[in-house]
Amino acid sequence: MGIADILQITVYTVRLIIAVALATYAIKTKGTNFWWLFGLYFTSGVFGLTDFILQSGNIFALSSGFRFICMVLFIHYTFYLDRNNPTIYFFIMSVIFGIIIIIFNILFDYINPLELYDTIASITQIIGNIIVFSWLIYSSLNAFLNVKNDETIDDWVKMRYKLVIFYSFIGIFVAIAYGTINFTEINFYAIFIFIATITYQLIQLMAWVMPKFLRNYFNRHFIAHTSSSKTIDELSEDEVIIKLRED
């Protein structure tokens, strides 16, 4: 087993660990959106490891469409419930791209293994990732700008938006790299992409399953702000009614 194999196993194993963390988090918080992120990581980890064990090179591509769909539904459930949104178009795009990737990467490759088919599959995969991640960046940035100056929103929540935007940019970079660079041997680029991938995954984990100490750290100024105003808010039921009925 070479270094390239170890790097590959590490990437997929980290994905499975993140999937378990996200599942635990989704159960604890009752957050529907996190199940879709779990789906993305779980399929990615399982299909990636299977691909590696069987040395197929095509199995991971099978899950592309499903991973796009998971991402699209994650964005929908996080940002766009109860409002007009383009989810349906991204969903249809994901299905079409998934089918194109399967056809060109697996079926055509099996019938007639031309490099052109792999190239078409890779380009489709890159475009799909760019579109989905760009939508995530747009949605997060829009929402962040909406709340940036709102003093009632915790600083750690604002930081979460920033982390999502940051890891989405790395996600685009990683997707382009995986689609264009051949990782059969270890070189500077392979190591660089490996580090970028692990960084992308860890930032994503940090954003969604943020440890308490980090939350407290990001929120250090906010806690001071709210604690000083707490006492005036604790009015009795009668006081509240009287105050609201006053002109």
Partner: protein
Amino acid sequence: MDFVNFLGPKLSALISKDVSPCKGLIRFAIRDACKNPNSLTYKDIIEIVNKELKIRLDQVNIPELDQVMSQLNKIIIKNQSVFTMSIY
């Protein structure tokens, strides 16, 4: 994130009353719904605002209640990600 702290000032601006009693009213609405204020989902918030909080606002004779409710819903829907992003 504290949903009461978030929505209190918005409700206060909509009905032109002090922030403190508005926060108090929201706190009572959450209590009426028998929900844990620390683990409210977006769906819980929409339900509480349109049921318990609406009843409470009606009880204190807030004028043009339907318009206030419509504005409150718009604010919550527009800021939906604040609730999904702030659960932990």
